[in-house]
């Protein structure tokens, strides 16, 4: 078969990690970390999203390089939208 078949064990390990991280992010929200609450929540969410994209969505295993180009450029333009908008709104002296 040409398509890479991922082992069930890998899928279950990713699934368990995602469930544990959901519990962690909900639990950490109740601990006072000051401004780091938001950062920790976003870091955990991004790590979960990466696991889903790379393993569940097979981006790690794809032989088609154009798929990787599309994924990276989509994230790039999203960060451009969010980054430049926030750079504006966080530096206004109103």
């Amino acid at each position: 078969m040409s398509e890479h078949v991922v082992s069930a064990k890998t899928y279950i390990a990713v699934w368990l990690t995602l469930l544990v991280l959901t519990g962690v992010t909900a639990g950490v929200a109740f601990i006072n970390l000051g401004p780091f609450n938001t950062i920790v929540a976003l870091v955990i969410a991004t790590f979960k999203a990466l696991l889903v994209v790379l393993i569940f969505m097979h981006v790690k295993y794809t032989s088609e390089k154009m798929v990787k180009v599309v994924v990276v450029s989509a994230v790039f333009f999203l960060l451009l939208l969010l980054g430049l908008s926030l750079a504006d709104y966080t530096t206004r002296l109103l």
Partner: protein, 231 residues
């Protein structure tokens, strides 16, 4: 596969004539699906951007409004979606290995989990409706800023939070409804035995869509439910 393209065209009825072989056909459709998902990322990105700006401006009011959401239901729904993503990859894997019965079971489980998510969402929205937290003329949010109990919440700012909450969870739920429709179609075809190790593109691409919707929720949960829970 050593067969010439022409011989393979007769070999597999799913191969379209403009592709050299099944692998090229699969990669092309996967690329197309990812391009569609890129437009979806920008679609949700606009709402996330609006959310971030208002959250920055009205953080205390957003924190108070966020605390009125049911964190247990939110966390349970996150777990439900993660489980559904597992059943989707297992269904795709079953197709890759040519196991029809497993495909059907995993797709049916995916549908059950998808509907469970929507059911929980309906319960949450109903309670928001009863509490008058739906933006509009009857909107009313009683409460105080989490770290300053003597400071009441600004009604307009709380209303902006709930407008974003319903727009984002609403668009997400609409995607879930579409996903449930797509997966019902897949379940029917898996039952008929349409998907084989050589041809399961609809399953693979619908899986990509389902995981994308899962990722949106992975961000929505902390951003909407966990703004200012700290004690």
């Amino acid at each position: 596969m050593a067969d010439s393209p022409i011989a393979m065209e007769h070999h597999n009825p799913a191969l379209k004539h403009h592709f050299a072989d099944m692998e090229q056909q699969r990669e092309a459709s996967s690329l197309g699906m990812w391009l569609f998902l890129a437009t979806e990322i920008m679609f949700f990105g606009g709402m996330f951007c609006a959310y971030l700006i208002y959250r920055l401006w009205y953080f205390p009011d957003f924190g108070a409004a966020s605390n009125s959401l049911d964190i247990t239901l939110g966390a349970v729904n996150t777990a439900v979606l993660i489980c559904s993503s597992l059943t989707v990859v297992m269904a795709v894997r079953a197709a890759q290995l040519g196991k029809r019965q497993q495909q059907v079971i995993y797709l049916a489980l995916t549908l059950v989990l998808g509907l469970a998510f929507l059911g929980v969402k309906a319960v949450e929205w109903t309670s928001k409706f009863k509490e008058h937290h739906i933006p509009g003329p009857t909107f009313n949010f009683e409460g105080s800023i989490p770290s300053h109990p003597d400071q009441p919440v600004d009604q307009h700012h709380a209303q902006i939070f709930f407008s974003l909450y319903f727009a984002m969870t609403g668009m997400h739920a609409l995607h879930m409804v579409i996903g449930v429709g797509i997966f019902s179609y897949l379940l029917y075809h898996a039952w008929k035995g349409t998907y084989t190790p050589e041809y399961y593109t609809p399953l693979e691409n619908s899986g990509l869509y389902w995981h994308f919707v899962d990722i949106v929720w992975i961000y929505l949960f902390p951003l909407l439910y966990l703004i200012d829970r700290k004690k």
